[in-house]
Amino acid sequence: MVNKKRLYWTLQITGWLGYVLLQIVFYNFSNETGIPLRRIFFFTFEGLICLGITHLFRHYVNNWKWLNLSVPKMMMRVLPTIFLLAIIIYFLRVPFSIWLNIVSVQRLAFEPQQIMVGSMFYFIMMFGWSLFYFTYHYIARYNKSLKYEASMIEIELNNLKNQLNPHFIFNALNSIRALVDENPNKSKQAINHLSNILRNSLTFEKKGLTKFDDELKIVKDYLSLESIRFEERLKTELDVDPNSSRFLVPPFMIQTLVENGIKHGISRLTQGGTIHLKTLVDKNRLKIQIRNSGQLINGARKGKFEGTGIKNTTQRLKLLYGDEASFKMINENNNFVLTEVIIPQSI
């Protein structure tokens, strides 16, 4: 990752230094007598003034967020501004040109014609600088949106692989088949639960968020099916804050975390265990806490394909909420693992 600040300063310094050197060399070769020292100083000060003014310009462009405007609106603000800045540069230069005797007659510096010519020159320079600056940012932003799209596609693929968790589905089908004789009603209910989950996973939207209540339904369907499989070995507890309904959540995220808890925690214990889902609403943020019997070993769960569910979750959170969402997974005590996701209220 290129350090943006470093890049900016490198470009500024080399750019203006180049400009100064170019001026010096040009003057040197176009004058038989070579270049006097004061000229060198003059060019240097000029370069420094330009550096300072462009830096200031950039500062205000960022502050006023002109990069976020459409191009026409942006130009409407930038053009007059750099025109003004050009004039300012010219007048900042005047004291130096006088001090270093660049101008033979002081009055000349204030002639309208001189002012016009000088300012025009700086206007063109400022224009060139702005062109470069804004173009760079537009390209960087386009790049970022491409990366974002690429990530989203990758997540989509991951999700597709994760959602239709074949292990869960075939185990569920096996249990349902067994129930057909033993408890036909229960097997019908189970088929409904499974059908609901499959339907939801098929209509999964790319960047979508889903209502908390819908996600909770998915989680309940999932837990019903797992209860059939594990029977007395799985105890479930739900403790849902009624205010949670206000929130939108990424679809299948809570389900994935619950499944993770069962897969890596409870299904590994011969006596089984408990899965506990709790939600809290705290100042416009939704806290989702999943506790499952089991322990994290060495900070991670053992398993061949562990991690993809969690990685997927953290990726989605970052993309949807940036730094506003948080995720953590720790051993809460000797018997339980706590997975906590905190998400802000969506826009």
Binding site: I169, N171, N174, S175, E182, R229, F230, T270, G272
Partner: protein, 240 residues
């Protein structure tokens, strides 16, 4: 054939039992919920066939097999597990996917019954020692085998492990040679030295060696030294 069903899910066991009703040649002698229960039952009931779920809490199916001395025929079951499926394919193991299809089950059972017929019938040792007729489960990294002891020509100790010589393979198992020695039938397997146990049916040639010991040549080329201490016993065994 006596069979044991090992699966942590009651409904899965029930399903399989139902399917096996169509196969009178298979008699279910027990059901186990996890590896520890299973080990107990295998030792008590001596089944000829195991239906073994690969994903169980606690110990996995593979770990269970490694803890058994002699292993019967095994058919693995799984709903879906990429890793396990790969292992089954690579090692040519018999497996069934849940929900189990009746036809697939029939095919597998026919295969097993065929294998059973081809196994040389021998009297089971009263003292339950492992003989040439028994097979063991050997796992080394990603590879695993069911090896008939008649094919194992040599056991060689290597630190805390034992190298098992059969065909062109020498996988390592995590066991002590002394412990293995006690379990093997001494009429079939001989402790040649501190480091080696040899399969007597693979002995091809014997010659005198230093220090009153012997150098035994096995079919296939391996040469094993018999220590002086064991040499006398060896001569007795081979009735020289």
């Amino acid at each position: 054939m006596k069979a044991l069903i090992i699966d942590d899910e009651r409904l899965a066991r029930k399903e399989l039992m139902k399917l096996l009703e169509e196969h009178p040649s298979i008699e279910i002698v027990g059901e186990a919920m996890n590896a520890d229960e299973a080990i107990q039952m295998v030792n008590d009931l001596n089944p000829d066939l195991l239906f073994l779920d690969i994903q169980m809490p606690g110990k996995t199916g593979f770990q269970l097999l490694e803890e058994l001395d002699a292993v019967p025929f095994v058919v693995f079951t799984t709903a879906y597990d990429e890793f396990a499926l790969k292992a089954f394919e690579v090692n040519a193991l018999d497996y069934l996917l849940k929900p189990i299809q009746a036809e697939r089950l029939s095919e597998t059972i026919s295969k097993i019954l065929e294998k059973e017929k081809n196994k040389a019938t021998a009297v089971r040792n009263a003292d339950k020692k492992l003989g040439l007729n028994d097979q063991v489960f050997v796992k080394d990294g990603d590879r695993c085998w069911f090896v008939s002891l008649s094919n194992v020509r040599l056991f060689e100790s290597d630190g805390n492990y034992i190298k098992v010589y059969f065909d062109n393979n020498r996988p390592m198992i995590h066991k002590s040679l002394n412990a293995l020695d006690e379990k093997l039938d001494e009429r079939a397997f001989f402790r040649a030295s501190r480091k080696h146990i040899i399969n007597l049916s693979w002995v091809e040639g014997i010659e005198q060696w230093f220090n009153g010991g012997l150098m035994v040549k096995l079919k296939g080329g391996d040469k094993v030294e018999v220590s002086r201490r064991q040499a006398a016993k060896f001569k007795d065994m081979m009735s020289l």
